[in-house]
């Protein structure tokens, strides 16, 4: 799995590309921890799942951990651009109740401004 971390107008954007599963979770968690330490105080962090092809329970766990970490720093982590496969996993596990989920990155950016 590839990931890109960037900021745009004071909003953090994390783009996750490929399968978010148990094999890639540790590396991503480390990258996120390093990145969030260097970018403390961000009010919103958007996780863009447009190119995320699949997700498993470890991936969901990581997203929840990221959500809690950002929330503890006074910010909010939101998700956007889920494909059908990822959306199904969120619904089956009811994790969609936790997050604000937007249809695409533009909509997320508009609402997180």
């Amino acid at each position: 799995m590839k990931s890109e971390f960037k900021t745009q107008n004071g909003t953090g954007i994390i783009e996750l590309i490929g399968d978010l599963h148990v094999v890639s979770v540790d590396e991503l968690r480390q990258k996120f921890t390093d990145w969030s330490q260097n970018h403390g105080g961000l009010k919103y962090v958007i996780v863009d799942l447009q190119q995320t092809t699949a997700i498993d329970s470890a991936g969901l766990g990581l997203l929840i951990a990221m959500y809690k970490q950002i929330q503890a720093q006074g910010g909010e982590l939101v998700l956007c651009s889920m494909n059908k496969k990822v959306r199904m996993v969120f619904q089956l596990t009811r994790v969609h109740q936790i997050f604000s989920i937007y249809d695409d990155l533009d909509e997320a950016l508009r609402n997180c401004a």
Partner: protein
């Protein structure tokens, strides 16, 4: 013009909203979702956005991308607890050219068959009495303040030929179903279809000659009626329903996947699986007796895959584990002449006749006790699981002689190596076998499979041990 339909929210009178989102509730014998989509099609709306709540995956599975209606359906989430009216504010530009907006559970009730789209600059409310279930607007003077998060002005009643009918209570839902079968269904029929003699019967419905049918009745697809049923007047029966013999249904609504036992009389009630709902009071009663009411249930591709995967892997492990024990005990049984295998014809998972070995005990001794108690007698059948001819856990296989009668009563077939019927003391009647099979189909999931395997295995062992002690 677009449509924005909130499918979240639950109906207080209907438990288990996650298993049964309100928009998939049948009216007549089709889900409410279909009526809304057809309403959109008639209004010239091709772009429909469904905002999902709990159980939304069932909606997505059902509607897909909307291709079958010639519309484009897309899906969104809204965080739980957030006001529905907040959703359009996320991206106001999407809705500014006009929107059919539904915020609460309701049904698009047509006053006549044809409905008309609004002209530009018009708006109307969708609702009855004091409740607004949503609105239909092509008027920027109304939409602009709404999409800016302000309270819009009050809207006039709909003049388009339809409005939203609330289904907040069991009574309103029940009344709606009866209105539909008492004639209003003609408002919803597509061109080219007609209703003959006030009744509608779906595909793959088995109706024995002794069934008395009194219109108006509406029966969905894949329904099994049994001899001496009396159906109607005013009976709405959903899809995949099994009704056992000598049962009378009138003035009632039976939801999809319900099993109704024999010798019952159901009147002025809604039945949802094993849940009996009184539409007048909204009271509901969940019956645990599957001889009365039950849930036929449906397997999903995921659960099927998990069950088959579990069955295959576990069968292989069992085959290896049982191998030494089988040869030791079976050799001793043969030497002492206390049992042997005969061939029995059953229908396999593909409903094809297949000869299977069946252990027959000739003499009762410690060897046969251990052989059967440890379930080593099932060892030859494990190969059939690996060949996908049987399931590791399931219900009792059906013989070709019973096939015609039994397949009328059960919607799916899962012949198993281990099944609860093995614990029955003597050969049960086909009624009992059907109840066991329906129970298995209803509860077919991975945890149930594991539980069934250990329950049957351990109980067989305990029974043989106690028999040996008594002996």
């Amino acid at each position: 013009m677009k449509a924005l339909l909130h499918t979240g929210g639950s109906l207080a009178w209907l438990p288990d909203p996650e298993e049964r989102p309100w928009i998939l509730l049948p009216v007549g014998n089709r889900p409410i979702l279909e009526y809304w989509v057809e309403c959109c099609v008639d209004l010239g709306i091709r772009d429909i956005r469904l905002v999902l709540g709990n159980g939304g995956y069932l909606i997505e599975e059902y509607a897909g991308d909307g291709e079958r209606w010639g519309v484009q359906i897309s899906y969104s989430f809204q965080k739980e607890g957030e006001e529905p009216d907040r959703f359009p504010l996320r991206n106001p530009d999407l809705w500014k050219d006009g929107v059919l907006y539904l915020r609460q559970p309701s049904f698009p009730l047509r006053q006549q068959k044809s409905i008309s789209a609004l002209a530009a600059g018009e708006s109307c409310r969708l609702g009855a009495g004091e409740i607004d279930y949503g609105f239909y607007s092509a008027d920027s003077a109304h939409l602009t303040p709404f999409l800016a998060g302000q309270s819009p002005s009050a809207l006039p009643e709909s003049s388009t030929g339809f409005s939203a009918y609330g289904i907040e209570s069991a009574k309103s839902y029940f009344d709606l179903n009866l209105r539909i079968i008492q004639g209003e269904i003609s408002h919803y029929l597509a061109p080219g279809y007609e209703l003959s003699e006030g009744s509608h019967i779906g595909y793959n419905v088995v109706i024995p000659p002794s069934v008395i049918m009194e219109p108006p009745v509406m029966i969905g697809n894949d329904v099994r009626l049994s001899p001496l049923n009396a159906i109607g007047p005013h009976a709405v029966i959903g899809n995949s329903v099994v009704i056992d013999a000598q049962t009378e249904l009138k003035d009632c609504v039976i939801l999809d996947g319900s099993y109704i036992g024999r010798n019952l009389s159901i009147e002025q009630k809604i039945v949802a699986g094993n849940l009996l709902i009184d539409p007048d009071t909204g009271d509901s009663l969940r019956l645990d007796d599957s001889l009365l009411l039950g849930d036929v249930g449906k397997s999903t591709p995921l659960s099927d895959f998990m069950n088959i995967f579990f069955g295959q892997v576990f069968s292989f492990i069992l085959w290896l584990l049982f191998l030494p024990g089988f040869f030791v005990f079976y050799s001793l049984i043969r030497l002492t002449g206390s049992g042997n295998y005969t061939k029995k014809t059953i229908l396999d998972a593909r409903k094809q006749p297949r000869m299977c070995p069946e252990f027959v005990r000739v003499k009762k001794n410690i060897f046969t006790g251990c052989f059967q108690g440890l379930s080593l007698d099932r060892w030859p059948l494990l190969v059939s699981v690996l060949r996908k001819q049987l399931y590791l856990c399931g219900h009792a296989p059906i013989t070709p002689e019973d096939a015609e009668d039994r397949f009328e009563k059960i919607p799916e077939y899962f012949p198993g190596v281990f099944y609860d019927e093995l614990l029955l003391p003597q050969q049960p009647s086909s009624l009992i076998l059907n109840v066991y099979a329906l129970n298995y189909i209803k509860n077919r999931k991975l945890t149930g499979e594991i539980s069934l395997f250990f329950r049957v295995g351990l109980q067989r062992l305990l029974r043989k041990m106690s028999n040996m002690e008594e002996g």
